[in-house]
């Protein structure tokens, strides 16, 4: 066992040293160790897969040795936090608000590790929450939707009614109204993140109500909404959290993207540089962590004037002149 490990490490070190002499082997010998705990599968094409991409980016950019575990229940989640902390990991990313209290408990026993709680509620010592101002990107998506909608009705499918999801929906609605004040916005919550069948039903119901532009924040359940849009003539959808153009290349106008990987890397750099402070870390358009990413295949659908307005609004939001939650018109 020990012999085999050593041999594996040697092979790893030798092969990596071909690229650079100080880059450590990824699995055991790096002094900078980063872990990720996800409350669900990393195959969800959104929230958890984005976090996993972040972990890999930290490995590739900073040469950290990384580890990931899926922990679905409170028992498993605290066990994972504890195990990583006990093994001396430098940063433990926990991908969900439900990790806040377990992380604070474990941090009392293991004061050296930094716990980064994605969407956490408060900073407490080395427990640092990440907050994403998703509404800044959904505002831009909403502007495009408001400009393109023929029926004057837009629809939103939410997973669970959490604060970031609600904020995203408000940004979407405000953005649409900034372009067309008469827009009617319909909202449905599914009460889960996984049930693609209910996502499809909710989307079809919105489409029957006359909505022709849909947006979502429902992770894997939203895959059903993409299906519904593909089946409906003249309907379009906007992706969330990740660039989802590939899910329906002819029907996704663009996506409100959270670049989790970029945010993770920024945090990891601060931890390694020793500059991380005990405060919530908030990300928006300004730091390039949030973006509205248009689908290049549908670039012809969006009028140039509308695109220009969206770009102007993005600048106003990034510079703080426009609050997407209040939705004031940025001016012509």
């Amino acid at each position: 066992m020990r012999g085999l490990l050593t041999r594996l490490c040697c092979i790893g070190v030798v092969s990596l040293s071909l690229f650079s002499c100080d880059r450590p082997a990824p699995d055991s010998s790096s002094s900078f160790r980063v872990a990720l705990i996800t409350p669900g599968s990393i195959a969800d094409a959104a929230w958890n897969s984005g976090a996993y991409a972040g972990l890999l980016r930290i490995r590739d950019s900073l040469g950290a040795s990384v580890s990931h575990v899926e922990a679905l229940t409170p028992a498993a989640q605290e066990e994972a936090l504890r195990s990583y902390a006990a093994q001396g990991f430098d940063i433990i990313f926990a991908n969900g608000f439900e990790f806040q209290e377990p992380a604070e408990r474990v941090a009392r026993t293991y004061p050296d590790a930094v716990f980064v709680v994605n969407s956490g509620s408060r900073a407490a010592g080395k427990v640092i929450p990440l907050v994403f101002r998703i509404e800044e990107a959904t505002y831009l998506a909403g502007m495009v939707a408001g400009g393109l909608s023929r029926s004057g009705i837009i629809g939103f499918v939410g997973g669970v009614e959490l604060p970031p999801v609600r904020r995203g929906e408000r940004g979407w609605t405000n953005g649409a109204r900034a372009v067309n004040p008469a827009i009617a916005s319909r909202v449905t919550y599914l009460n889960n993140w996984e049930d693609a069948a209910s996502g499809r039903e909710a989307a079809l119901a919105l489409l029957r109500l006359g909505a022709d532009m849909l947006h979502h924040n429902a992770d894997a359940a939203a895959l059903g909404a993409f299906q519904a849009v593909k089946e409906t003539e003249g309907a379009y959808i906007f992706g969330a959290n990740a660039d989802q153009s590939s899910l329906a290349p002819d029907r996704v106008v663009g996506s409100a993207v959270i670049d989790l990987a970029h945010a993770f890397l920024l945090v990891a750099r601060e931890v390694r540089g020793g500059t991380l402070r005990s405060e919530a870390k908030s990300f928006g358009l300004a730091g390039d962590v949030l973006r509205f990413v248009p689908n290049p295949r549908l670039a012809g659908v969006v009028p140039a004037a509308l695109s220009a307005r969206v770009r102007a609004a993005a600048d106003s939001i990034a510079s703080g002149r426009l609050d997407p939650l209040r939705g004031e018109e940025p001016g012509p």
């Binding site: 409350p39 679905l72 409170p74 994972a80 608000f97 959490l162």
Partner: protein, 348 residues
Amino acid sequence: MNARPGRGRVVAPLLIVAASLAGLAGVLAIAGYDPVLALGALWRGSLGSFDAFASGTLVRATPLILIALGFALALRGGMLNIGAEGQFLAGAMAAAWLGVHLAGWPSLLAIPATWVVAFAAGLIWVVVPVVLRVRYGVLEVISTLLLNFVAEALVSFMVQGPLQERSGIYPQSDPIADAARLPLLPGTRLHLGIVLAILLAAALWFYFSRTLGGFRLLAVGTGPRAAAITGRIDVTRTAALALLVSGGIAGLAGAAEVGGVAYALYPNLSPGYGFTAIAVALLARLHPGAIIVTGVLFGALETGAGAMQRDAGIPAVIVYVVEAVIILALLLADARRTARSPAVAGAA
């Protein structure tokens, strides 16, 4: 139904586990992972150190043992309780609801109080199946199973409604008062629930093998007609009581999970304990002592699965496949063993 404890009953499953682990090593090697690294992580993460054993394996084993004990009690009386998942959640809801209101109480009162309400909640959750069974002959297999979905929906309503935490933002309850939290073994996550599980196992062993009531229960479970003909046993009452208490025990497991692990009500509290516990109980041949062993075995498997992901980089999906393969191998080998001794097969 053979209640005699025998060394073969404990050793044979362990041999099966060893065999399935060997098979598993082969599968991992074929899938391109290092089996030595993976199985080493499985071992170290579950039984390889005192901390892993106490803070991981035993914590995961506690709800499994409790629920399996309840399941065994009901099945001895001929009732198949597939609804422990729902009864567990009912107990968890009750314990969380009471637990948040117990600030300032002495622990000596607060903890038993949460256990009592959780037991009652689990018991109440099977009242409907019992009535349906006794009055209308509706199979409890179906009614208890269906109530699982009701319990899940109720939890998700509770954490967004009446029991939602104070700020009204997150789908979880407020943390329970310190007084209602179970004491931990210092330096570990192991909580008092394991003691409850062991005491309950001892009590059930005594009841099954040393009391008249336990004998009556066995008679009802193995031959309800014969039991009724004796004229000394109220078959319906005995079976109904067994199912009710079995629900109460599952409720207790919910209280132990809230009071000892989660400290609040979360919608994802159980990864399917109610179903895994059925395998735990069946593999132990419903013997309370053996249930502790098989419960620890399954707890080790779940904890070790996490370690395989963390330390050996095996993807979660492969770990789940591995878990399922081991459970299936165990049950299959067990079924073969049972088939060779017809007397036991007829009783189970």
